[in-house]
Symmetry: C4
Subunit: 208 residues, 4 copies
C-alpha cells in the first residue's frame, strides 16, 4: 500500500467518525421518566440522520477512490497533489453535511452540499484522466477502455443526478433533499442490480 | 493488508480514543487541598468506567472482525459495503456508551446500547455468510465448517446473553448493567479457559 | 511500510482534519432568509481560508517526508526520534495556523507561524543528513549526490523565501501574509514547471 | 504489518495530536498591541509544555512497543488483548498529563501520572514475557536472552526512576516534576551515549 492510500484511509476514518462528537448525550436535568429519555433521544434524529448521510457519502467516495487505486500502480508528485486536494474536500464533508442538516429548507445549504460532492466527483475524474495519460494504470488497452468508460459514465451520471436533485431545491427544498438521499442510498444499496465495474478483471480487491 | 482493513483500524482507533475527550480535568477553583483533588478525581469514576467499558466493547468487535479477515482473502464491493455499515455502528459505540453511563437506571438507555451491540453481531454474521457464499474464504472445506460453526455459535451465544442481560433491565437496571459488564469482561478476560477459534489452523495472526 | 511511516500518516491525517472542528455551522436563530445564510456562510471565510492554508502546508511537508522515506530503506532509534520531533511540529501546525488567521495583522503571529515552518524544514534536513551519514539510503553514490543537492536546495530556498516573507511583516503584515500564501501555492501548484526530484531514478512511488 | 500494529499506530497518532485541541488561540478582545499578543502566547506555556511532555512520553512507549513487535513474529488472541490493554493506558496519557499540568503542586496528580506510566511499563513487560513463553519471538536463543535482559533492565530501571521521582513529591512537588521530566528527556535525547538494544541483530527496523 502506498503512503497516499494510508493517508487517505486516515483522513476518511477521521471524517467518518468526527460527526459523532456533534451528537451530545441529552442533559439529565429535565429527564425523570423513561418517556422523557425516549423523547430526548428522538430529538437527536436530525443529527443521527445527518451522521448516517455523511457516513454513506464518505463511503461512496472512499470506495470510488479505492477502485481507482486498485488499477493505478504508479504515481508521481502531481497525482499525489490531486489526491491531497481530493482529501481536502473529503474532510469538508462533515461540515457541509452538518450545514445541510441544520438548514435543510434553505437552497444555499443544498447548493454548498452539492458543490462539495461535485468537486469530489470532478477531482476523481481528473485523477483517473491524469493517471491514464501518464500510463500509471496496469490494464491491457482493451480493459482500460472499458474501465475508463465505466468510471466516466458514473461521474457524469452521478453529477447529472446530483445537479438535478439540487435544482429541485428551487421548487421544494424537502423534495430536493429526498432526491439527494435517494441518490446516495441508490449508490450504497444497489448491491444487487449493478454488476461491479471490473467484473471480468479482478475479484480479490475492493471495487466500488 | 487491504484498504478496508486499514480504514477499519482507523475508525476503531478513533472510536477508542474519542471518549477520553469527554473526561475533563476537574476545574481548579474549588480545589485547594490534596483531599479536594482526590475527591474531584473520584467524581470522574462513572466517566472512567464508561471509558473502559467502551474500550473493551470495541476491542471485542475489533478482534472479531480481525478473525474474519484473517480467513477472508477476497472481497468485492458488496463485502466492502457490509464492512462500511459495520464501521458505522462501531463509531456509534462512544455515543451509546456515554448514553448508557449517563442514564444507567433507564431501560431505554440499556435498550439502545443493546441494539448497537446486537447490530454489530448481526452485521459480522452477515459478513461471514456473504464471504462464505461467494468463496472468499481461504480454508479447506472441513476447516471452513468448523470455523463457521464456531463463529455462528459465538454470535448466537453472545446475542442471547446480551438479550438476557438487557431483559433483566425490566426487573432491575443495575442488575442488567452488571450482567452486561460481566459478559464483556468474560469475552475480554476469558483468556485462559477458552481455546482460540482456529487453534489447529494458524497461529501467527490475530484470532478473537 | 515501516511503523514510523504509518504513525506519520496518522498524525498528518489527524492534523489535516482537526481544524474542520473549529468551523462551526452558524447558529440558526438569526437566520431567516437565504441572504442571511449566505452572509453567515461568507462570515466563515477566514476560517475556511485558514483551513485551506493549513491543509496545503501539511500536504507540502507530508510530500517532502514521503520523498525522503522513498529513498531511506534502513532506520535506527535516532532516526525514529528525529521523526517523532518532526511529527511534534506537524501537530502544532493547526494551532499556529489558527493563531495566524486570528491575528493576521500582528508580526508576532507571523513570527510563530514562520518558526513552526522553519523547524519542519530544519528537522527534515537533519533527517536526511543523519540517514545519509549512516548509509540508510538506497541510492548509488552518483544519484545520492544529486538527490541530496536537490533536497538541500529546496530546504535552503524555501527557508530563505519564508524568512523573506516573514521579514516583510515589519513593513506590512498583509503583504507578508500574501507572500507566505504565494510561496505555499507555488509549492503546491507548481506542478507543470518543475520536474520532480528523482525524475531519472524511480517513478512508481511518491516524490515531492 | 499486523493489524494490531496498525491499530496501535492509530491510537498513538490520535493520543499524540488530541492535546493540541486543548490549546486554544487566545481571545482577541483583550489584545490590541504586539505586546498583548506575546503576553497571551506565553500564558499558554504550561499547556505547550504539557503538550511536549505528553508527546515525548507517548513517543517513548511507541518506540518501546515497536521494538518488541520487531522481534515478535507470531501472536494469538491473548497477546492481542494484552496489547489492547496497553492501548487503553496509552489513550489515558493525554488525560493524566493534562491532570498533572493543571495540578503540578499536588502529590495526587503526580501519583496518577506515575501510575499511568508504571502501568504502561508493566504491561509491556508482561507482553514480552507472554510472547517469550509462547515462542512468538524470532531470535536465536542467545540473542533472545540478551534482548530479554535488556528489555527487563529498562523496565526495572525506568520503573525505579519514575518511582523515585514520584516519591520526591512528598518532599517537593516541583522537584518531583523536574526529575520526571529529566527522566523522559533522558530517554528521548540520550541518543548519543546509549547503544540501541539490538545493535548486533538487525538495523533496518525501528528499535528503541
Amino acid at each position: 500500500m502506498q503512503r497516499i492510500e494510508a493517508l487517505s484511509d486516515g483522513v476518511f476514518a477521521i471524517a467518518m467518525t468526527l460527526l459523532i462528537l456533534d451528537i451530545k448525550v441529552p442533559i439529565s436535568e429535565v429527564i425523570h421518566a423513561e418517556s422523557d429519555l425516549i423523547k430526548a433521544f428522538f430529538g437527536l434524529t436530525p443529527k443521527l440522520l445527518s451522521y448516517f448521510l455523511s457516513f454513506i457519502t464518505l463511503g461512496i467516495y472512499w470506495a470510488a477512490q479505492s477502485t481507482q487505486f486498485h488499477f493505478i500502480t504508479k504515481s508521481d508528485r502531481r497525482l499525489n497533489w490531486i489526491n491531497l486536494f481530493f482529501l481536502l474536500f473529503v474532510s469538508l464533508i462533515p461540515f457541509t453535511t452538518a450545514f445541510l442538516s441544520q438548514y435543510i429548507t434553505f437552497r444555499f445549504a443544498i447548493f454548498v452540499y452539492w458543490l462539495n460532492i461535485i468537486m469530489l466527483g470532478l477531482i476523481l475524474a481528473l485523477h483517473w484522466n491524469y493517471a491514464n495519460k501518464n500510463n500509471f494504470i496496469s490494464l491491457s488497452e482493451n480493459e482500460n477502455i472499458q474501465v475508463t468508460k465505466a468510471i466516466k459514465r458514473r461521474v457524469v451520471e452521478s453529477s447529472l443526478l446530483y445537479t438535478l436533485g439540487a435544482l429541485l431545491g428551487f421548487i421544494n427544498p424537502y423534495l430536493s433533499l429526498l432526491v439527494l438521499i435517494a441518490i446516495q442510498l441508490n449508490y450504497a444499496l444497489a448491491l444487487i442490480s449493478r454488476p461491479p465495474i471490473h467484473k471480468k478483471v479482478h475479484s480479490s480487491k475492493p471495487d466500488e
